[in-house]
């Protein structure tokens, strides 16, 4: 397991190891099998050759049927992975995911459960436009019964995928197109448990709470501000929901200042819940108002000039950190 690999390859490795260990792990999605080249983003490359078409199943273009088949297989005791090519296409399978996958354990009084992993990718900055770039994690965080994770680096991509497949409840695994190429070495036996945030960088002045692709920007800003004498602690949630409130509260209790950052639309995003809880937990103890950063309140525009103006920029993050320092 030594040598640098990409984030995409780390996901492939995690799935590969889980498939080798458990016959019940299967992958369903459009173009995922060898005959189709292992998926549009090639994440499942090489798996069909090892595990066969009965476990790596290329599907028709039918997201409801893909999600439903995974729900049913999970109810029967398998550990299906559904690949929904892009996050916006989850809009087609919301009923299966929300009314069924998330609720069947509860509605059956615990008689059944749905050990399902939904892999999906998205991201702003790729030039895919309004229907191929959305980050919809806030919807799923609002649905009891669903867990949501997203990796900010190859090691966590590997560790979180293994934890997601091992989980006995549905987990939405969000990938970011722009992160697939990131490379790193995966430490031997690396683990990334669900529900545990990572302190990506320690700091004492401001807590910058974020996840996914934004972590890289956060770390870059933290590095830059360190030079300017501002010590930023970067929290990588890794599990977006239910999130590690303990780690976040401890960090903000220490710094007294918080900036919450995500790529998704700011309004009603996960940052609203995080900010609300920080205010509840540390009322009267904060040195400045919690700053929230997120995507602009519009569909994601296709024109690159507009798309770059849509997402939170490093300058925007810097400005938010400085704003908290005023307090």
């Amino acid at each position: 397991m030594s040598g640098k690999i990409t984030l995409g390859a780390a996901i492939n490795r995690a799935i590969d190891e889980c498939m080798a260990a458990d016959e019940g792990v299967i992958l369903l999605g459009e173009d995922v099998a060898a005959k189709q080249g292992g998926g549009v983003f090639k994440i499942s490359a090489g798996l069909t050759e090892k595990y066969g078409e009965h476990r790596i199943r290329a599907t028709p273009i039918s997201e409801q049927a893909i999600m439903g088949a995974c729900v049913g297989a999970a109810l029967a005791g398998m550990r299906p992975i559904a690949e929904i090519m892009l996050m916006n296409f989850l809009t087609v399978s919301m009923d299966q995911l929300v009314n069924h996958a998330a609720k069947l354990r509860f509605m059956s009084g615990g008689q059944t459960n749905v050990p399902l992993v939904v892999r999906t990718t998205t991201g702003v900055g790729v030039g895919f436009g309004g229907q191929h770039s959305d980050m919809l994690e806030a919807w799923f965080a609002h649905v009891p019964g669903l867990k949501i994770v997203t990796p900010s680096n190859p090691a966590d991509a590997y560790g979180l995928m293994k934890s997601a497949i091992a989980c006995n409840d549905p987990v939405i695994f969000i990938e970011n197109i722009l992160s697939y190429g990131m490379t790193a070495e995966i430490p031997e036996g690396y683990e990334a448990p669900l529900g545990k945030a990572a302190v990506a960088r320690e700091g004492s002045d401001v807590s910058l709470v974020t996840y996914g692709r934004c972590v890289a920007d956060a770390l870059a800003v933290a590095e830059e501000l360190a030079g300017a004498g501002v010590s930023v602690e970067v929290i990588d949630l890794r599990t977006i929901a239910p999130y590690d409130e303990e780690t976040v509260t401890a960090s903000v209790a220490k710094t007294g200042r918080a900036v919450v950052l995500h790529e998704a639309v700011k309004q009603y995003g996960t940052g609203a819940e995080i900010a609300a809880r920080i205010n509840e937990a540390l009322f009267g103890k904060l040195k400045a108002p919690v700053q929230r950063l997120g995507g602009a309140f519009s569909a994601v525009p296709m024109a690159n000039a507009l798309e770059q103006a849509w997402i939170p920029t490093k300058d925007g993050i810097k400005a938010a950190v400085h704003a908290t320092m005023k307090g």
Partner: protein, 321 residues
Amino acid sequence: MDREKLLDIYTRTMRCARSDEKFRSLIISGKLATLYYTYRGQELVTSAMMAALNTDDYLVTTYRGQHDQIAKGVPFDLLYAEIAGRETGTCKGKGGSMHITHPATGIMVTTGVVGSGLPIANGLALSSQNTKDGKVTVCCFGDGATNIGAFHEAMNMAQVWKLPVIFFCQNNRYGEHTAFADHTKVDSIVTRAAAYGMKGIHVDGNDAKAMYAAAVEAVDHARSGKGPVLLEAMCYRMMGHFFGADFSYMPKEHLAEMAAEDPLPKIRALMLEHQFTEAELDKIVADIDAELDAAAEFALASPFPSADELRIDVFEEEIAA
């Protein structure tokens, strides 16, 4: 069809019929307050289908599927307790009539969302295909469900993968208040099987022998690995969309036709033809009624679930209070 199988079908049919009576009387008498989708008129179609299955075969059904669950074998006491919202119910009262689950008798999902059962049934069948456990999955749904996207996606996927699943459409000629001819412009749902290259069977569901033969044909096809089947059983929804709902929108001719096709007198007549005596048949019904009385008593005497249940079964791990 041998007498034993006929007796089996009759017994399942009467379990459905007597339970429906019982639920309606509990509701009318105010002992039970719940939304109840009576299946009056559909007792036989499902009994003949379930008589062709094994207990461990999988079943996926709908809000109207109490007859499917009973015919499949769910115990009355657990069913009644669940519908009464008691902690002794199949689902600790959390699911209710629209979400009965009972894996011990293969009842894996009961959904309240029209058409949503079909994609899930494919998944159950997929697991049987991969694990070679020899099970078939039966998915029950109505005529109205055949116009929703999930039906289409699931039918096509099942055929592409030759899954051991039977799509069992109980065509009761109405989707809520809408007549079949007003929501679908083909004479029969089975026409749609051809759109997927799937085997289709159309049958008069109130003809016990024809219905059972169709069920066996479908099960054999699916179990032998030949692929999925769309089985359309014609029947009638003899009351409103749910118990108590008005159904004045049904034309007189339809009501007359419906009354003439009531499966209960038909199957009783058939039993007598096959030399079962009135006494034997009455005894079966009496035993069922006794079981139902006990079940209702058990249910209504059972405790309500505690509020702690809201933190249990959301995830595997209990949520902190």
